[in-house]
């Protein structure tokens, strides 16, 4: 069997005809392999879902117990036979439980990266290079202008701003799955042990991370404290984490007083993006590979064919072709090319 025949694109997403299953389908299907818990990849309503135990737990926390007909947890590195096709999950380093789907039959191997990054993340297992014939890579930050600086520098920037503006609340916009917990974990590593306050939309996933063994330290819910003038004092010089949509929702953030609006996202690399969101302190922290990580990964995986999905496909395809690796853009629809994979959270009333 040729590796290019292992997968093809359909309106529901990437489909493996030999194994009759989909990877991260955007519509309900009978059998799905889910790479990670972000809602544009992990949707409810499939007949059966094969994923890591962590991803299944995240889906259950978001969609409730009956999000699928049958849960099939798979550990990293374990083979599962799906209608004669071998499926194995390998760590992707994107968020807790995130995996690449390694798909093999008759000596041919395709790897679907899902979303991934290469730099260290204290909240999840690091990306594993799996050599293969066809590598399907994301390209959210697939332009050479995206080079994320060292995470420690960005965390230091936030801590420095806290010292400069000790009377202002630092409201950090961060996606509630993965980014929020990672920012907290990095802050703890940098020696910040003050309580960190959470928007209500963050709480469930932070609790889940703790249950799954990721230590996040002293976390407190912000909303109840925002209702009383006396307790609002705690926000002075404190860090509050909220979903990005809450940054622009001043009905919610009003009670925090004078805030420094921060946003932890790879998009913050481009000034115009940060300015559009009225961000005062951009923190360039991303759970996606930057340009150097993407090209490093393609070099290391060294596939015969590179298929590029959601994001800036064109540049990575061009680069790959100049490196002698045949590349094509897959026009998969339904994945969020602008966000980092999260829908806006429902607004939370302040008082």
């Amino acid at each position: 069997m040729r590796a290019e025949q292992l997968l093809r694109t359909t309106p529901a997403g990437l489909y493996c005809p030999a194994g009759d299953f989909y990877v991260d389908p955007v519509r309900p299907v009978a059998r799905a392999v889910i790479t990670h818990g972000h809602s544009d990849h992990a949707r409810a309503g499939h007949g059966a879902v094969l994923a890591t135990a962590e991803t299944l737990a995240i889906m259950e926390s978001r969609y409730g117990q009956n999000f699928t007909g049958a849960e099939q947890p798979a550990a990293y590195g374990a083979d599962t036979n799906v209608n004669g096709v071998t499926v194995r999950l390998a760590p992707a380093g994107h968020v807790l439980g995130s995996a690449q789907a390694v798909i093999e039959k008759g000596g041919a191997r395709a790897v679907v990266s899902g979303d991934y990054k290469r730099r260290r993340d204290p909240t999840c297992a690091p990306f594993e290079v799996v050599p293969c014939d066809v590598f399907i890579s994301e390209a959210t930050f697939g332009l050479p202008v995206f080079r994320h600086p060292p995470t420690e520098d960005e965390i230091a920037k936030l801590l420095r701003s806290l010292k400069t503006f000790p009377e202002r609340c630092h409201l950090v916009g961060a996606y509630s799955l993965g980014k929020a917990q990672r920012v907290i974990a990095h802050l703890r590593e940098a020696g910040y042990h003050e309580p960190i306050y959470l928007h209500g939309a963050m709480q469930k996933l932070c609790d889940l991370y703790e249950r799954l063994g990721v230590r996040l330290g002293d976390l407190r819910l912000a909303t109840p404290l925002m209702k009383i003038p006396l307790t609002r004092e705690v926000f002075k010089g404190a860090i509050v984490l909220a979903p990005p949509s809450a940054l622009s929702d001043d009905r919610w953030s009003r009670a925090l007083g004078d805030v420094v609006a921060c946003f932890a996202s790879g998009w913050m690399r481009v000034r115009a993006r940060a300015r559009q969101r009225l961000v005062e302190l951009p923190l360039i922290i991303s759970d996606h590979a930057d340009w150097d990580e993407l090209t490093q990964t393609v070099r290391e995986v060294a596939p015969k064919h590179l298929w590029v999905t959601h994001g800036a496909e064109e540049a990575l395809v061009h680069w790959s072709n100049t490196q002698g690796i045949a590349a094509t853009a897959l026009n998969l629809v339904g994945y969020d090319e602008e966000g980092e994979g999260e829908p806006p959270a429902a607004p939370e009333p302040a008082s």
Binding site: L143, P144, V145, F146, R147, R269, V270, R271, A272, R273, A274, R275, Q276, L278, V279, E280, L281, P282, A312, E314, A315, H318, W319, T322, E338
Partner: protein, 525 residues
């Protein structure tokens, strides 16, 4: 360079005027001479380097980076300086980063042939923020939401002074402004004797709606035509002559033909226009003369500029600004009776009988170079800024057509992630022909709606341009407002619009009901 880069960076992210002021003031307070003076020169747009242009920067980047990757990145980022700053490949072990003063003095002194090599070595030594600041500095377009006025206000605050006091001495100063800082910090006298022909902050108007008129008494107001050029201030003072834009930018060097017309010892407020056969010509003609640092003989011959005067602010030693408009107008008429000449004349008043009468005059102005009427209270003093209730502009109603969105392109600058540049067309038979492009007029919310529509209805991609579904049944109808129409050989449709903008989104209207080319052609005749 590091501190200057940090300043520019934090200014770029500071949305509030007050916050920007604090940042600049703190920088000027904490930074020694002459670095702070050069920074002030950069913020007020006073720096210009002959040999360090955008094309040079672009060339350096393209020599280092794959041109396809560069083009894709530039299209995405929408700003050359930022694209180059981010895409520049890091070079470990490069030279040390330079200080601001050293960079500026080196650029001013270096031979043209040496500049690329110098700039390249600086780019290697700086981090992305430093590279961005360096490129912004060299190419002179900071675009960080700081006007010259704001920077001067921050400087004035060092000495608890008003911006106008700095404005008065400013024309006599030169970067790096050590005497200015010495005065502001109380270490020296006010820089004196050199402040000839200063700029005086301009009085601006509010737009008026038809319904507001009912509240106003026509007898309280003088009316005059609003000419379609650019508002300027022309000052002559003991032999020194200067022409300023309404923001106080000195544009004298590009308009020697205007300077020679000015009467002695007077400060005029007026409209800069290009003259043709003794009459003001179209804004198109004036545009040939704008945004230039110098001017050629051919330009002077083909597009001669002049002034139509609105107001008199200063005469001899007398500041007329506290007087009423009625008194100033009398003084202006008296002056112009002797000073008027070819390309320098008085903007005539329009008699005010009633609002209805004025309304009909506004709809049928005597010259195509008129864009509406100005209403000024007879008893208004000349006050800086947009003073409420004193002056109003009453523009002509725009023309409106319903057109269909055909192509969209990502915007630049602060809208770089949105599809914000639109090409729209009208029906010619069963086919849509493009008739114009617009990239403003919509609200932020409408922009998001159109952006969403473009992404969901893309038929084709041509580089940065997306072709959007535009059939008789499916598509987005845009109500486009524009000021005028001219024949054009450059456009397939044969017409070109002046100042087109998106007036409204017509989600309710199917594309087949959009306007036809014949409607536009009828406007031409």
């Amino acid at each position: 360079m590091k501190n200057f880069a940090t300043l520019l960076d934090s200014l770029a992210f500071q949305p509030q005027r007050g916050g920007k002021l604090r940042l600049i003031e703190a920088y000027l307070r904490d930074t020694p001479d002459p670095d702070r003076g050069w920074a002030l020169a950069a913020l007020t747009g006073q720096l210009s380097f002959k040999h360090a242009k955008a094309a040079l920067i672009r060339g350096l980047a393209e020599a280092r980076v794959d041109p396809v990757l560069f083009a894709l990145s530039y299209d995405y980022v929408g700003d050359l300086a930022e694209t180059v700053a981010l895409i520049w490949p890091a070079k470990p072990g490069a030279n040390r980063a330079r200080e601001l003063t050293e960079v500026i003095e080196t650029l001013n002194a270096a031979a043209k042939a040496d500049i690329p090599r110098l700039v390249e070595s600086w780019l290697d030594a700086l981090d992305p923020d430093g590279r961005w600041a360096l490129i912004k500095l060299m190419t002179g377009a900071l675009r960080i939401g700081v006007s010259a006025r704001l920077a001067k206000t921050a400087a004035a605050a060092l000495g608890d002074k008003e911006a106008d006091e700095v404005e008065l001495v400013w024309p006599g100063l030169a970067a790096p402004y050590e005497n200015l800082f010495a005065w502001l910090e109380g270490r020296a006298e006010r820089p004196a004797g050199i402040a000839r022909a200063p700029f005086r902050p301009v009085m601006l108007s509010h737009p008026i709606e038809d319904r507001d008129l009912a509240q106003l008494n026509p007898h309280d107001f003088a009316a005059e035509w609003k000419w379609d050029g650019i508002r300027i201030q022309a000052v002559s003072d003991q032999g020194e002559k200067r022409l300023y834009s309404r923001t106080g930018e000195d544009i004298s060097a590009a308009f020697p033909d205007v300077l020679e017309l000015l009467p002695e010892n007077a400060a005029l407020d007026g409209e800069l226009l290009v003259w043709r056969d003794g009459e003001p010509a179209s804004f198109n003609d004036l545009q040939q003369r704008l945004n230039r640092k110098t001017v050629t003989k051919t330009m002077l011959r083909d597009y001669p500029a002049g002034i139509r005067a609105y107001d008199l602010l200063h005469q001899g030693y007398e500041d007329l600004r506290p007087l009423t408009f009625r008194e100033r107008r009398a003084r202006l008429e008296k002056l112009m009776a002797v000073a008027a000449r070819a390309r320098l004349d008085l903007s005539p008043l329009v008699p005010v009988i009633s609002w209805d009468d004025l309304q009909s005059k506004r709809s049928n102005p005597p010259s195509p170079a008129i864009e509406g009427l100005m209403l000024k209270r007879w008893d208004s003093a000349y006050l800086p800024g947009r003073v409420r209730g004193e002056w109003f502009k009453w523009k002509r109603d725009p023309h409106l057509i319903d057109a269909v969105l055909m192509y969209a392109q990502r915007g630049h600058g602060k809208r770089s992630s949105f599809y914000s540049d639109y090409t729209f067309g009208v029906w010619k038979g069963a086919e849509l022909v493009p008739v114009g492009k617009a990239y403003f007029g919509f609200t932020d919310d409408e922009l998001k709606q159109i952006d969403r529509f473009v992404r969901d209805n893309t038929e084709n991609k041509f580089g940065p341009v997306r072709e959007v579904t535009h059939t008789a049944e499916t598509g987005l109808v845009l109500e486009v407002a524009f000021e005028g129409l001219a024949r054009s050989a450059r456009h397939k449709s044969g017409v070109a619009m002046r100042f087109p903008r998106i007036n409204r989104l017509r989600w309710d209207k199917p594309p087949r009901d959009a306007d036809r080319l014949a409607t536009l052609e009828a406007m031409l005749s």
